[in-house]
Symmetry: C2
Subunit: 336 residues, 2 copies
DNA sequence: ATGAAAGCGCTAACAC
DNA sequence: GTGTTAGCGCTTTCAT
């Protein structure tokens, strides 16, 4: 990089001290308007821009937010990043992105990286592998504000922003029942994840409300395209096959539709399917997928806003973790 | 943030000078092994970690890469970010993400932000609106290495990494012809974008190779779901409707399939469709979409590698811009 | 083998 | 209204 113009250069050329220049640049009242304009003009002329690194060192802050996220390529997460970047941008913060790739080990390295980079705060959605949270505790011990989003835990006294998984699941299954489904299967996420639990609970309670018997035999662990397709194939072939499916995400739902079609079943006539996420693919699938919108963009915005609020608070005496729930919304299309 | 342990703390507790501690920490040969271990042990005990900001100030570098990108939510771009982050991670660089949201104005602000943040280098894919490049010239004037990817320009003497759009388009159309299509339409991107031009050229030349007449009447500007669907509806209803479509991206291709089905045409029997990108949606559509894989992950990797190479070079006397072309590959599925 | 001192760019308390 | 000085945390030259 080219040698940058510093406050010293301006001071020298104008026969002033660096402090005067510094003050002039930030409209300190003491400075005469003559010097002020002279300084500002020269600064503009030379293309001076304050050295953020020096400022960082002095202020011991970087105006940077660290983001630790499983997989950027997943639509939901990219929507969240979008929301985060939007709020950060508006508040003159920058965002550093670290991917865990769903790996616990890498996630630990990521937490060290955010510490090393001296970010002001951290936003985290942890990996599927993670069930030890001491690396996040380390952040908290360093008094770096952390906000967890989407994938959260009760094990840590930290702020959280999550989608209303329970309500979304409840609505989805309720919808299936109202559409006439009698036997509804649930393709679930791993139960050590909060979203796995909450969505199952919503499914369970919706059945209950309509006096439909809940059976573990209708709950399957299937949250990827491949496993969902395979599982759907198996159970749709059986005599007592389900007539409705509530999948924990859109990809699994699309896989179910695919399997049904391959077996000559019609969607939604023979089998109805609801997903969760409202990804782009949901609108493009055939039939178009009924799904629960998770509002990733909103969620990202809220998580970032919450973090910024914490940053503004500064040293807080008694920390009270906040949990914010982002509404979800059933989007009815043609798969039900 | 908690007050961090510094080299000074260690020096004080051990009755040493900061320089000795500094040297001990980095295994300077002059330091006796006794002090070295003492220092290291205490450092570990206190949880010392070097203050990157101070290092940054001294070294005048941040080990950070700035990324300016139109839209994170687009699958192709998120794949690219993934590739970039992967390489950055392996080389101990961090990535700061700035979205332009396809806005020229915001992109200009983004370039200022990367300057302000004193990133070591910048990766750019510019917005659709951009046709003045002076803001990027400013980066170059500051001798900050810049690598352009995907959306590039000849107007700037800079490194570039692009997909082989021409070859991909050529293969796609060639494939349609070999599958028996006689009348092939092209849904194109705006022609002020290089990708718009290159893909049209590939389409043109593939027709030429097979002695098929090229007609402007079969080229439509349609690179979004909505416009593609509407356009496809119109032209598929006409008597002399195309029997093949080459779309500039997957979304448009999926829209074409949808329109065809809505009009009672079978894909691929009556109409064959090829997309471009190989997004997730392509594999999930029905029928599964034949498309050209753009290898976004690879592209991101290469762009980042190229940038890191420039960073290693340092002050180069005579700069020769490099243009790297990432191969594309036709992925044949069931829509052709 | 270790320490003192200067300096990266900037700000701010303290002089005058 | 402006200058002097110290200091943020670290490295490195120059002493000893």
């Amino acid at each position: 990089m080219k040698r940058q113009v510093t406050i010293k250069d301006i001071a020298y050329k104008l026969g002033l001290s660096t402090s005067t220049v510094s003050r002039a640049l930030k409209d300190h009242p003491d400075i005469s308007s003559k010097t002020r304009t002279a300084v500002k003009e020269l600064a503009a002329l030379l293309g001076y821009r304050p050295n953020r690194i020096a400022l960082n060192l002095r202020s011991n802050s970087t105006r940077t937010i660290g983001l630790i996220i499983p997989e950027i390529e997943h639509y939901f997460f990219s929507a969240i990043i979008n929301g985060i970047e939007e709020i950060a941008y508006k508040n003159d913060y920058s965002v550093m992105v670290f991917q865990s790739n769903e790996s616990y080990k890498r996630e630990v390295i990521n937490t060290n990286a955010v510490l090393t980079n001296r970010v002001d705060g951290v936003l985290v959605s942890f990996s599927k592998e993670t069930n030890d949270f001491s690396h996040f505790q380390k952040l908290i011990d360093n008094e770096i504000p952390v906000v967890f989003f989407d994938r959260t835990t009760e094990d840590l006294p930290a702020d959280q922003v999550v989608a209303d998984d329970y309500q979304g699941a409840f609505q989805a299954v309720n919808h299936l029942i109202e559409k006439g489904c009698k036997r509804i299967a649930h393709f679930a996420a791993p139960q050590h994840l909060q979203i796995g639990k909450s969505r199952l609970a919503g499914y369970h309670d919706a059945l209950l409300k309509h006096n439909i018997h809940f059976s573990h035999e209708l709950v399957f662990l299937a949250d990827t395209f491949e496993t969902a397709r395979k599982t759907a194939h198996e159970i749709l072939r059986k005599p007592n096959a389900p007539d409705g499916f509530f999948a924990v995400n859109d990809i699994s739902a699309i896989a179910i539709i695919k399997a049904a079609k391959e077996l000559g079943k019609r969607v939604p006539e023979d089998v109805k399917v609801v997903g969760f996420e409202n990804s782009k693919s949901a609108a493009f699938s055939d039939p178009e997928l009924t799904t629960v919108d998770q509002f990733g963009f909103e969620l990202g915005r809220e998580a970032c806003l919450m973090l910024l609020r914490r940053l503004k608070e500064g040293e807080n005496t008694d920390f009270q973790p906040v949990r914010k729930i982002i509404r979800t919304k059933l989007v009815v299309r043609n798969s039900t």
